[in-house]
């Protein structure tokens, strides 16, 4: 069914976050785990990123966190590959 605006936005935020955590925080590329919002691993990865970048550690894709994910940055990961 066509997604509502809010649902669409939520989807794109999730995609943004998934790509960001895969690229910079060593998140394994596994689509399913991101769908399960309560996935413990995702929450931990989000918390790790928030801590490293000096954000409030909420484990959620809050506005500040999404805003930082959209900022220009270096392409080298933050967590060792």
């Amino acid at each position: 069914y066509p997604l509502s605006g809010a649902a669409k936005e939520e989807d794109s935020n999730r995609d943004l976050a998934q790509q960001y955590l895969e690229k910079y925080y060593n998140l394994e590329k596994d689509v399913k785990q991101f769908r399960r919002k309560d996935s413990n691993l995702i929450v931990k990865k989000i918390q790790g990123m928030q801590k490293f970048l000096g954000l409030e550690v909420t484990g959620k894709l809050d506005t500040d966190t999404l805003e930082v994910m959209r900022k220009p940055r270096c392409g080298v990961p933050d967590v060792g590959h």
Binding site: G54, P72, R73, C74
Partner: protein
């Protein structure tokens, strides 16, 4: 701060870099100087030194690219990932890639090339990202960074010095500096109006201008001189030279420091050197010479020390009788002490401090007085 897993770092302190291609966003010399300025940021706090290569494989290969560009990290169009770099090591390692879908600028109106280059160089030297929001190695680009007086944060300095230690000069400086100690790691600026040279020589049609640990290399076809460390070409040669000259007929450049001299052919130091300068026929009272030049037509080499000069016959390989003579008697208008001498276009160019005296040997007079660095396209 943090270093890459396994703490990769360069096992040498002199590194080479090469700018492989350029962005259309900026003039080439703006890219050159942004990279040079970024290198200097790290040179000033470590024993590391850098020299530029124009071909072949340098330790740090710097290039601009878009989207997929041959490594496993494709760029992503404008914004987001601006550039990336690889930790120290062979081949791709140490290299820096800039995303040319960004708008690269000299100021903060777009993505400032110097700032990103300084950050990426941190990676090329072995630094990973820092969680310190004030640090250059913080992963997010900060467009508000003060560019004119840019300084590394203490976190950056601690990080890089944990890999390479402090610059050599800082270990000798007194705890409380009593006067500005030339750290020996400052790079001379080619257009500094006060610039003087230690020695100057031709080399197979090019001109070499030696200063401290460095030299500028000027060729006929490229007015813009290259800048290198002496040790990058001749690792066994000393720096802070006294004199240098080329004997064309022997395709050899002779380099003098103190009471010794070396012979180099291309970038090979010849076996059997250094030798003592007294083997050339100088009296024991002479402890060093100030300058030298070899007249390729007359096959005579002139050595200058304080207010006197000697003449050496290249055919008989001996110092001529009747010398030393006073410089003022035979080169009127040339003021001792002479730092360096160059023969070109039928003239002798005497360099003394920041001045250069063009001397016409036929008219036996100084025809022009110029700035010493007029040969460096200033």
């Amino acid at each position: 701060f943090s270093s890459f897993p396994g703490m990769p770092k360069w096992r040498k302190t002199h590194l080479t870099y090469r700018i492989v291609n350029y962005t259309p966003d900026l003039p080439r010399d703006a890219v050159d100087s942004a990279i040079e300025k970024a290198l200097k940021v790290w040179e000033e706090v470590t024993p590391l030194t850098f020299s530029r290569m124009y071909e072949g494989e340098a330790d740090i290969m710097i290039s601009f690219a878009v989207k997929e560009h041959g490594d496993f990290y494709p760029f992503d169009g404008p914004g987001h990932s601006l550039a990336h770099a690889y930790p120290p090591g062979p081949g791709l390692y140490g290299d820096i890639h800039f995303d040319d879908d960004e708008k690269w600028t000299e100021d903060a109106s777009g993505t400032n090339l110097f700032l990103v280059a300084a950050h990426e160089l941190g990676h090329s030297l072995g630094l990973f990202h820092s969680a310190n929001t004030e640090a250059l190695m913080y992963p997010l680009y900060n467009s508000l960074t003060e560019l004119a007086q840019f300084r590394l944060s203490q976190d950056d300095v601690n990080g890089i010095q944990s890999l390479y230690g402090p610059p050599p000069a800082s270990t000798e400086e007194p705890l409380v500096p009593t006067k500005s100690v030339p750290s020996g790691s400052e790079m001379p600026a080619k257009c500094d109006p006060a610039l003087s040279f230690d020695a100057i020589s031709t080399l197979r049609g090019e001109y070499l201008f030696f200063k401290d640990r460095y030299f500028w290399r000027r060729s006929h076809w490229n007015p813009e001189p290259e800048f290198h460390l002496i040790s990058a070409f001749w690792p066994s040669l000393p720096s802070y030279l006294d004199a240098a000259y080329e004997v064309n007929s022997r395709d050899t450049v002779f380099i003098f420091k103190g009471n010794e001299f070396w012979a180099i052919r291309g970038n090979e130091v010849q076996a059997g050197y250094p030798r003592g300068i007294h083997t050339l026929g100088f009296p024991p009272t002479i402890r060093k010479i100030d300058a030298a030049v070899s007249d390729k037509e007359k096959k005579k080499t002139y050595f200058f020390a304080e207010d006197k000069y000697w003449r050496f016959d290249e055919n008989s390989q001996s110092m001529e009788q009747g010398f030393p003579r006073l410089i003022a008697d035979d080169f009127p208008g040339v003021e001792p002490k002479v730092d360096a001498v160059l023969q070109a276009f039928g003239f002798f160019y005497f360099f003394s401090g920041s001045s250069q005296f063009e001397f016409d040997p036929n008219a036996r007079m100084v025809t022009h007085i110029l700035k010493s660095n007029s040969w460096l396209h200033c």
